[in-house]
């Protein structure tokens, strides 16, 4: 049983969808060509003019947009409307240089709220729900994106933002929160605190969690579902494309439906930049179809995913994307092997004996990459015998070796000593100087 917010668009036939996409793509291309000098130049360099777009297949001739392009045109170079039409701006933190700035027109905010409302409905949300929004409010798109989507749904929103865990738990009990939204790592921390405080989860009214903004594994999902007594849904989005609400998981939890009437997804090989067929893993690329303020053409997300076209049991016809398993820029190359933090997380959770709090410390020792995995020891696994703990370390090491093909040192650490984050978890410290 699934509920829809916009059944017409979410279940339309593939042919109808393609018609809408092509119509919207043509308008978009024309518009960025005339109003964004960056795109006009990029099109001209490839010898393309808007009239060349005759079918959806022609998308592959269009130039890519990268994060670097966004930085180079900072702050407003890619805006497609006059600044006066922009009613809100969001920006990335800019920790690695100038931030990425995105702008929304009134209509963009309306579309956004509508798409997030689709997400809530997909997770069974209705106006009867109490949504506790633990995503950070501010320049980050997570908080406000979820906020306006929940309001559009008609639910009761609790705009608590991230952090202040004791207060989060108190309000969850007192307000009867039914849907929790936040990053999976912070919500896991909250779940642990709820358990540590001895609160019976049956006294909570939680039924669903909407988690995103960072890659997480299926094992982590299972833990969140068990600890909080909920169904945990994956939500996807990025500010360069929209914010949360680009794609969302339905109750079948078998990939996230991309709202294709607003975005065209592609999977490319990050090296050759060639499109890959359905089912193959690669870098996710998006073209926005309806955005006015900050449209993007073939934006390279750096997120690793795959696309599946098979019809879903929920009735939605939109393509499903595989949950994000890593990012091309999060990917660690250790002694030539591609390693994603989520793979390690998966192994750790498989053991079920350690808390899913871990830190990967990569260093280079005598020209060799060295990986240390710091893992918080759970009291369930603690043994009063040294040998008992050494066996755990050895089993973890062997499992990492067989799953990832790399050897690592396991270092057991005391609980709650690894850094906790109230936003996106910091899982890697790379000390290599190359």
């Amino acid at each position: 049983m699934t509920t829809y917010w916009d059944q017409y668009h979410e279940t339309m036939s593939r042919d109808q969808l393609a018609d809408i996409q092509l119509k919207r793509l043509k308008v978009l291309v024309e518009r960025v060509y005339t109003s964004v000098p960056f795109y006009r130049q990029a099109f001209q360099e490839k010898g393309i003019s808007p009239g060349d777009i005759k079918s959806l297949d022609d998308l592959k001739h269009l130039p890519f947009t990268t994060k670097k392009d966004l930085r180079d045109t900072y702050p407003f170079g890619l805006f497609a409307v006059p600044r006066s039409e922009i009613v809100r701006m969001h920006a990335s933190s800019g920790t690695t240089g100038k931030p990425i700035v995105v702008g929304y027109t009134k209509k963009d905010l309306d579309t956004w709220a509508d798409l997030v409302a689709r997400c809530f409905a997909m997770a069974g949300g209705t106006k009867e729900d109490v949504v506790q929004n633990a995503y950070g409010y501010g320049l980050f798109t997570g908080g406000l994106g979820i906020h306006y989507g929940a309001e559009r749904l008609g639910a009761t929103i609790v705009p608590i933002s991230g952090g202040n865990t004791a207060r989060q738990i108190m309000l969850m009990q007192d307000f009867g929160t039914t849907i929790l939204a936040g990053t999976p790592s912070y919500c896991m921390y909250m779940a642990d605190e709820i358990i540590a405080a001895g609160i019976d989860r049956k006294s909570l009214r939680l039924k669903a969690g909407i988690f995103g903004a960072e890659p997480w594994s299926n094992n982590m999902r299972a833990q969140l579902e068990e600890k909080l007594g909920i169904k945990a849904y994956d939500i996807y989005g990025l500010s360069e494309v929209l914010g949360p609400g680009v794609a969302m998981e339905c109750p079948y939890q078998n990939g996230l439906h991309i709202f294709e009437d607003h975005f065209i997804p592609e999977i490319i090989d990050p090296e050759t930049e060639q499109p890959l067929p359905y089912g193959q893993k690669g870098e996710l690329v998006f073209t926005t179809l309806t955005k006015e303020g900050f449209p993007v053409i073939r934006y390279r997300t750096r997120d690793i995913s795959a696309l599946y076209p098979e019809k879903c049991a929920c009735g939605r016809t939109h393509l499903r994307m595989e949950r994000i398993t890593g990012r091309t820029d999060d990917m660690l190359i250790i002694r030539g092997v591609n390693v994603f933090p989520t793979q390690i997380e998966s192994v750790l959770l498989e053991f079920g004996e350690t808390e899913p709090h871990y830190l990967l410390v990569v260093d280079r020792k005598a020209a060799m990459d060295d990986l240390e995995i710091q893992v918080e020891l759970s009291s369930r696994m603690f043994s009063d015998k040294v040998a008992g703990l050494e066996v755990l370390e050895r089993r973890l090491r062997e499992r990492i070796l067989s799953v990832l093909g790399i050897s690592a040192r396991i270092k057991l650490v005391e609980p709650k000593t690894l850094p906790r984050s109230e936003g996106k978890a910091k899982r890697v410290i790379d000390k290599r100087e190359i």
Binding site: L377, S378, S379, F382, D384, K385, V386, L412, E414, P415
Partner: protein
Amino acid sequence: MRVQQISIFLENKKGRLARVTEVLGENSINIRALSIADTTDFGILRLIVNKPDLAYKVLKEAGFTVSTTDVIAVEVTDQPGGLSNILRHLDKVGINIEYLYAFVTQTASSALIVFRVEQVDEAIKILQENGVRIVPGSEVYEI
């Protein structure tokens, strides 16, 4: 007959042992015996204290990974061959000692040895049959 031992996981980091003793001190818990097994990265601190239940609770609340283990305390006469005599009985029936440590009582005519074995009940039985005095928990906590 069993004695409750508190085991604590400690990273080899400055100040952790001091923190344990501080928590115990603040709660008026007295340490009777202590031993540390350590590796390069971590150590396991084993304690016999006068209030084991309270110690477990306050250490857990202070964020430590703690467990309790049942061990056996026996009195050994302070003379050559005293310990050997006891170990022989356990060896004969194939009971393996995981670890042991000793402490001296205030009367000082005998020492107390703390054993950790898998088969606690069986070990107690064998030792008693051979006339070894086992010191019950209630007595050890009050030494």
